[in-house]
Amino acid sequence: MVASARILPLELTGVVARAFGKQLLGPVDLTIGATGLTVVMGPNGAGKTTLLRVMHGLRRISAGTVVWSVDEAVARRKQAFVFQSPIMMRRRVIDSIAFPLILHGVDKRSAKQQAKDWAIRVGLGHVLHDWAPMISGGEKQKLAVARALICEPEILFLDEPCANLDGRSTREIETVLKQAELAGIRIIMATHNLGQARRLASDVIFVHGGKILETTPADTFFDTPRTPQAKAFIQGDIVE
């Protein structure tokens, strides 16, 4: 399923991210291994989004390094990102999903056929020719996931993808993500939803105050969290 030149592991060393004088993240040292579904957890404002964007290259860092196992130009093409608020292009659903393929030179007919398959796979078969900005929130996010997966990335970042969705849409998307994980795609997902984390995570990165406080396998994290902040968070307390 995945190409031979693996872009992982990814190494973050001494990474610091700033904006408007404030330090959002760091310093952070982190290794992202080749397998699994990692959930990045933490209270709002902890720096989860910043961490994801730094890893994907959407945010510049003020210090430290972000190093993939291959040349950065190669690594850029093997990643995908699903945003918290799905970015819808002013096109039909099928054209939106096909867009990344066409962007990378795949011929239109083949791209549209693959887009159709993916749309059906995520449950968008009935809105194939609808105008993307007009479909429901859940459908939009499913479109975003399909659009992200259609290029067969090696790593998929998701920033709180189900934050604004109902239960049914959440379940449908989680199903797709689990299938993707089985297919060998590395998944890094930010969420503050404990239930979702328990359902999906193979390991957890706990972020608080711009720093990574814990990186542990999932069971360990939920059963025996080490830090008091993680403990409080799991218990459902407000963590500042």
């Binding site: 990102f81 945003f83 292009m89 096109r91 105008w131």
Partner: protein, 234 residues
Amino acid sequence: MDSISSGLLDAFALILTLDSDLVEIVLLSLRVTVTAVAIAALIGLPFGAWLVVNRFRFRRYTISVLNALMGLPPVVVGLFVYLMLSRSGPFGVLGLLFTPTAMIIAQVIIVMPLIASIAHQTIRDLWAEYHDLLISLNASRAQRIKVLLWDGRRALITAVLAGFGRAIGEVGAIMIVGGNIDHSTRVLTTSIALETSKGNFAFAMGLGIILITLAIAVNLAIHSISRTERASTW
């Protein structure tokens, strides 16, 4: 008020009889303006988009200058083009003065900043929406421009039509570089100017009504064409 009503009658008479001079003038007006707007759009639309996605040192100044050029007085442009194309000027050997080509050149200069500026402003908003996605997908600069231009085409059509409106009603520049020569470079606006100066107000008004009708017809045609391509109420 009298001039307007007799002007309407004159206009109807000309249209009904398909007066050959009128047809010639109208066709030349359209030829000059449509050509100028097409060229200006071909340059201005991508340029406007390029200014959005490209970060360079003097970008802010360039955008300010572009916006300012929208207010270029057409007669000044006409004078400039005349000096360029005059036999005593740098491009005199081309022999373009007093031809429709000179008129097209002048109108391209007038209309291009307008189209580019409007395009820039509308595409800037679209870029704010698409920014993260296009960067995440590694779209090249050229690809970004292409996507923004295509997805933003509704608003860009408005920009082009604004350019058309400016050009079809322009008279100062094309009077100087075209010379308003009968059967050669005479168009609707210069005819109106001529008839007005002769004191033939009614007739000039009639031509004015024809000009306005023409502009409305073109706008309606463009809007109806673009509507059939859309799937929803965008």
